[in-house]
Point group: D2
């Protein structure tokens, strides 16, 4: 770490600091400048926990201006220590494969057997690899529809059997992890739960592939640490997912951070999925933003499709009709090819 001294620091302060550092096993290297002195502190505290606390403690010293960390606060999901891309095999669908782009699609919420059946049939026919559908739904309002729970999970499993397509569904409650794992091929952690650390640990223990959505105001570094929570319990089958961040703009539901896609590929070895439905909130913008995500290097996309958006119980405004979805998949193939990949 780097310690920038206050401009008022005295030689005695410097000596004291050097002593504190030595005591904790750090070597101090001084760079004295005209206005300030910089101390490079090199060493290795036994744990990241102690390191973080120690840095905060140093910052409270009156003669220290600030402490700048040097190492990244995540290891297991860091590309630096694991340069090869992680490929997750979900019933034969390879997510993260440099030659493939994966399409996940389906309704926001499982509403009825008919609605799910029609959705599954349509997305499978159009070329989707994985079926999405919500059984447990987070809702801003306590009075909104919260999903059919296990009944919906059973319907999803039936669609998997009928159409031969793996399923992804959200888990919100630590007490439901076991139940959802009985049915789901991929667990989804929603944006509101990105920093629900007890849930992260639980899915880390579950050893089922997880798609972790970025929190709506999460820094890359915080987000990758959330993934590290899951990895730190021994579950390395993690997909990152950009679903738009919250900004001042109100025309769209969120602002899709396209920079995140190549940035996360640079920082981590985990597959990156894009969610243009939530990132835009508008059906008319889903197709161009999906193409953009694939051109930027996304390993997959997840798209809301509903047989009758105008009767959807949730997120109708951002859902594609089956026909529009099929057209998007057709148009996406040349985009995937233009960056050396294929959807097929």
């Amino acid at each position: 770490m780097i310690i920038v001294m206050s401009s008022k620091a005295t030689p005695e302060n410097l000596e004291e600091l050097t002593g504190v550092l030595k005591e904790r096993g750090y070597d101090a290297h001084l760079s004295k400048g005209v206005e300030t002195t910089i101390v490079g502190a090199v060493g290795a505290l036994p744990s990241a926990e102690e390191k973080a606390a120690f840095m905060e403690q140093l910052e409270t010293l009156p003669y220290v201006d600030r402490v700048v960390p040097v190492a990244k606060p995540y290891k297991l999901v860091n590309k630096q220590f694991h340069p090869e891309p992680t490929v997750i095999d979900v019933r034969g669908v390879r997510i993260g494969d440099p030659a493939k782009v994966i399409v996940m699609a389906g309704p926001c919420t499982v509403e009825t057997p008919e609605q799910l059946h029609a959705s599954a049939q349509a997305v499978k026919a159009a070329g989707a690899h994985i079926l999405r559908g919500g059984a447990f739904k987070p809702s801003t309002s306590p009075y909104s529809f919260h999903g059919h729970g296990e009944a919906a999970l059973k319907m999803l499993a039936e669609s998997r059997e009928e159409f031969g397509i793996p399923i992804i569904t959200e888990v919100m409650d630590v007490r439901d992890v076991e139940l959802v794992c009985k049915y789901a091929d991929i667990l989804q952690i929603g944006t509101r739960n990105m920093a629900n650390f007890t849930l992260l640990k639980e899915v880390g223990d579950a050893k089922v592939p997880v798609m972790l959505k970025r929190g709506m105001a999460a820094l890359y570094e915080e987000y990758l640490q959330a993934a590290e929570y899951i990895a730190s319990r021994g579950n390395y089958e993690i997909m990152l997912c950009e679903r738009g961040v919250r900004t001042f703009e109100t025309y769209t539901r969120n602002t899709f951070d396209i920079n995140a896609i190549p940035a996360w590929k640079e920082l981590s070895h985990l597959p990156v999925i894009a969610d243009p439905s939530h990132a835009t909130g508008k059906a008319s913008l889903v197709a161009p933003v999906t193409k953009a995500a694939v051109a930027a290097g996304a390993d997959g996309v997840i798209i809301e499709v509903h047989p009758y958006p105008s009767r959807a119980l949730k997120d109708g405004a951002q859902s594609l009709e089956p026909e529009a979805f099929a057209r998007l998949v057709r148009e996406l193939e040349p985009v995937a090819q233009s960056v050396g990949r294929t959807i097929r």
Copy 2:
């Protein structure tokens, strides 16, 4: 609700829409303009859930440009239907009383019996009404310190006995709510869990006073709906808490949204607490921002105090030393008086 028609809408579209509205029990009032037609739809769907879904469905109609809600999406915490301020009595401490300002203080995290004892003694002596201290701590890093759990809860309860001061502590996991309720006088829901709806329901069932922190990118309307989750389970003893929002500024840890204090008092009858420690992240800014919060009408403040900030395991940089805290309480009294209240 108000439905703004697309500029391309035909008279047939309008007729169709009117039919749809009637079918669902709404009366339609048309305002035809030069460029657009507006439809005022008045009626009452049996539940807010159906209403929200219906509005989303209308927005997917090709001849509808947008749907503007008129009513606020929260009722129980809405001042309009409950004009009197809620006062919460916690072992004789009245939170929300128009004549009083409540001070909560203590360490970020309960570290050792000695540290907590010194903290409790200091904050009580300085005039604090409620002791804070973390037993379960959310941490961005999986490798950081996560609190001593029940052992810390016991220490807090001991300090309550010794110093006669009620205690507030955070609960993060739905499975811990029962345990924490055995010790705590006030449950704290942290900023990362504001939209952890399963936790909100659980503390709603618990019938123990709750301080709900605003999510770091939560709109007022979303935040008040989170409070509504708790109220909808029958627990009306809820305190709102502004702890800073995430913006582009990096000099401070967060940006304290002072507007929120009078705005929430306008929108809701719940008491409003300010957290200047997290909102600034810098001990040097805590005192002025605390005074600002009280001048703006906050019903209370919650402040991190540590006997030795430079040895704190967490949040040392934003913790006040006991002496600085005592000075702040002394200086706060005239500010409280200037707006017709008192800390004493």
Copy 3:
């Protein structure tokens, strides 16, 4: 416009409001609901100015809760009134042509004749259509390099002659508009000047094509009104440009709002250019984000290229070397083709 009455509004208030509206030439249509009454006000004030002021005045009435505008506040740049895309012809380069993607490239700042010559030669050889280069440079610090002014404009004009490539350059000062127009084929308005209304009027009078960059925290609606300023003076040759917005993320210099590209194509008929160099601030992210922008429907891109980034006087960290730029152009052609366009 739509007027939402306060829940405390009396029938007398409603009558008064109706009178006020009639007086100003508006017809009022009432929709009385259980909780609130909505008034649809239809009419046409002679000017947008009076309309805006009138809406604000209505909002100050104690019995009015809020006023919701219905019409968009821009006309000349609004796609609704001008559905055909605008194509701007700059010395034979057609910007906005549905079959073409335009590449603008060059150094952030014109430094020396040699540097500009090497840059112009390289970007022309790689296939760029337009040469960029700063003569007047905005700088956060008063002590930074601010450009060579007219000397740089002359060098740009020489490169245009030598390589047969039109030039784009920024104008910052109203007093320089005439001078810059003598040399430039396209005037650039920088992000910090998006709401410099006196400058917008001046370039509106200049009748030279303008590329207007979005302000770093500008709403779509504000941005399109800034373009309307230029159009309102009779200059319709305007390009929109997304260059990233300011968010909480710090890994990248800005957050590229990819949603903006299809959204602006939906709202306006003006060509849309993407600036991945400023939007990312990192050379390693420029290529994937450029491809994303083209896949999302951008009509062109503007990219910083420097013969020796590590010796650049400005923005070296986000500049591509000539070789990397040439590779990007080669890789961009299949992406353009995948959405039915070409760079050639």
Copy 4:
């Protein structure tokens, strides 16, 4: 500055870097760690301009991970080099005096002689020290009212004579600086022009006191550099002004950054003014936020007052009526006293 080496840097790279640094007059101090090496570079380039460019150049080197600046990029407005607070005397009104809080008030825009006269009379009677009023008004829409220009300046000067109250008014166009200086006691630079560097230089040359509003998405460091632009031309009579920043919240017009007040007092010696009218956009929130600003240490406030807000041509919704303003000033005096100051 501190240079963090890439984890892939070789000893040869380090040697090369040391050579580059020496060549430019820097001493390099190495701290070799397990994962990374840190280089502290100490020296003094002749100008800040060269320093900034040199740092950017270093960042482009493939073996450099990042460069961390140590010194603040502003000098003249930096408290470190000028610990005494700046006090600006405007016709006997002392702005920045630790014992006083200054109140500026008046209409957003000068509309008519009657409106200004009524406003001036009211604010003077209530105890305001300085009269505000817009002659040149920035407007998001080209079709809105843009102010009466010189006619309004004359009316302001007449009010100054009649009521013995100095005046503040905005200048937007470099070509108007001379004209506005003929009438104004304080020049206001609006939020949209904070980074209009040509205008900053012009008012820096003008040697008239300037109130510089913070840009709506400006970092403290950028803002203080904008002030440095003015100071670097020899004009040291600068007031900082927090007027709210743009965030995701839409209930209020902006989010008032109360942290900024004590933070700027910590970083700079310049007086700090608060603008609660623009920061909230709602008359009902102006009084509590004004009190908060004074409690946090603001040296003054600027408040919009209009004799008939419901007929105002601009910003009516955030303007106080004279009676409400007079009540606010009365209520503000005890708040000022609670922090050791007075309005009188």
